[in-house]
């Protein structure tokens, strides 16, 4: 369960990126976060991954108040949260396998565990046949699947996807969304920040609509409306 209680985030005195947000996201939920650019979608995800700290309010993840999380605790939190970005953030000099393995290596996973887990994860994202390919040899959709595979390296409870289809064509976008649905069905809470109304409408899942840092709509099976 992710709980936002009166959460506000200000980057400067005059502008609030988020303003008194109160939401509850149960474990295993699939939530699309929609809104125009600057509405506060990315800020919301950054607050969950402790990349940013709220100016006011409290954020609790599975009973853990991360509002005043200590620096040394951040890595522990991040191993429970997978993050996917629009620009993939892959290492160009590492193969698909190595990109996923790298995430596990720096997290301190044992070599044996890495050897066993990475093929499973690549199979889940349907990239077994691209294990030795480098990012430069992959399509946009495949790159995003590598990024998702990397995010799944620690079997996270939460997956944050910030505009994961922003750089992809319709076909590949839908491919990625299908993958996110599959991951969600395996029990992972998925938060998808997107501009893509077709995807949101087709998903028929919970939709949080943000506008100027405020939640203006929270529909259980919503559509993309601004």
């Amino acid at each position: 369960m992710i709980t936002f209680s009166n959460v506000s985030k200000k980057y400067s005195r005059d502008s609030a990126a988020l303003h008194e947000i109160n939401i509850k996201i149960p474990t295993g939920d699939f939530v699309s976060i929609v809104g125009q650019s600057g509405a506060g979608k990315s800020t919301m995800l950054k607050l969950i991954s402790a990349e940013e700290r709220p100016t006011n309010g409290k954020i609790v993840i599975d009973g853990w108040d991360i509002t005043k999380i200590k620096k040394w605790q951040v890595p522990h939190l991040r191993r429970q949260i997978g993050v996917v970005f629009q620009d993939f953030k892959l290492l160009p000099k590492k193969s698909t396998y190595e990109n996923v393995a790298f995430a596990m290596e720096v997290g301190g996973a044992r070599t044996r565990e890495i050897r066993e887990s990475v093929p499973h994860i690549l199979k889940l994202v349907n990239l077994t046949n691209k294990a030795t390919a480098y990012p430069g040899e992959l399509s946009g959709g495949e790159k995003q699947r590598v990024a998702i595979a990397r995010a799944l390296a620690y079997k996270p409870q939460i997956l944050l996807a910030d505009e994961p289809t922003g750089n992809l064509d319709a076909l590949h976008s839908w491919d990625i969304v299908q993958l996110l649905i599959k991951i969600n069905k395996l029990g992972t809470t998925v938060l998808l920040a997107t501009h893509n109304n077709d995807i949101v409408n087709a998903l028929k899942k919970r939709v949080l609509t943000l506008s100027q840092g405020k939640v203006v709509a929270d529909k259980k099976s919503g559509t993309y409306k601004l």
Binding site: K71, P75, R78, K89, E105, V106, G107, G108, T111, R150
Partner: protein, 310 residues
């Protein structure tokens, strides 16, 4: 687990060094020069102190007795002088002993032997060597021996005031130490600057990896460790290089230095800088390690604080 972690962090440290190989080499060279200056400073200090000790040990005050002075009179003078609180020891050389020493020294000169045979009496007077507890006491002892009390007994007083030499030596050593400290500080500053930039560039060239490390929850040790290990590695290699350069030089110059500075050494073996190095290598290498690792850690930690925001 710790072993695996250390292996991965060390591997990343080697990758860091390789990506900025020229900068790493530059750091290595400057660090090695700094250590050589520190070594020079160390040896100048040790050597200077040994030279001073040697000068202090040398007999600076001797007297020769007049002809016809009996052994008893000589012993009485020796007893009186020995009883002074500023005198460490007295050595009497009788005229017979003096003759024997003279003969030994000129054993390869037959004409001297023949000349001595021509003389009916021993021409060499008895003498006495006095060692003071401290060099500053010699003047007072010489003054005491020059009083009327001994005028009928003592023929000549040979006194060379070494205080001036010692003072000059101390001053020279201080100058070398100060100059060495300034040079060391300049090189240490260079090491810090270069190491700082090496780490900064390494952070820049690893920015993508670092971003991802943050993203996937890599520990602080995994992110910062490679940079710290890289700098320690540079420090260790420069210690090896500095010693590889210094030791053969020390070995080569040691005999010349010993001959030049410690000729006529009285007690025990004269100071040998190479023997000193062999006897004290843990301290010498330890000093270098402390300087090198200290500088490396300091500069890399400052660079990490400045450029690696968590």
């Amino acid at each position: 687990m710790i072993g695996v972690s250390f292996f991965r962090v060390s591997k990343a440290a080697l990758q860091n060094s390789w990506r900025n190989v020229w900068l790493t080499l530059a750091t290595l060279v400057i660090m090695t020069i700094t250590l050589l200056v520190v070594l020079l400073l160390y040896y100048a200090n040790i050597f200077g102190l040994e030279v001073i000790k040697d000068i202090e040990q040398k007999v600076d005050l001797s007297v020769t007795f007049k002809d016809g002075i009996s052994e008893q009179q000589v012993n009485e003078v020796a007893k009186t002088v020995s009883s002074r609180s500023d005198v460490q020891g007295v050595q009497i050389i009788s005229s017979e002993q003096a003759l024997e020493i003279f003969k030994q020294r000129n054993i390869d000169k037959p004409f001297i032997e023949e000349s001595l045979k021509e003389l009916e009496e021993n021409p060499l007077p008895a003498s006495m060597f006095i060692v003071a507890k401290e060099p500053k006491f010699y003047e007072a002892i010489a003054g005491f021996l020059g009083t009327d009390r001994f005028a009928e007994i003592i023929d000549e007083i040979h006194f060379e005031d070494s205080r001036l030499i010692i003072e000059r030596l101390i001053s020279l050593i201080e100058t070398i130490k100060n100059a060495g400290l300034i040079i060391s500080a300049v090189f240490a500053g260079l090491v810090v600057l270069i190491m700082f930039n090496t780490v900064r560039l390494a952070i820049y060239s690893f920015r993508e990896e670092i971003d991802i490390m943050h993203l996937v929850g890599a520990s602080r040790w995994f992110i910062r460790g490679p940079f710290v290990i890289e700098s320690i590695l540079v420090a260790l290699i420069s210690v090896v290089m500095a010693n590889a350069i210094a030791w053969p030089i020390i070995k080569a110059v040691a005999p010349t230095l010993t001959t030049f500075f410690f000729e006529g050494h009285i007690q025990g073996e004269p100071f040998d800088i190479y023997v000193h190095t062999l006897d004290n290598w843990p301290n010498i290498v330890g000093l270098q390690l402390a300087v090198a690792v200290g500088l490396a850690m300091f500069s890399s930690i400052i660079a990490l604080q400045r450029y690696l925001k968590s």
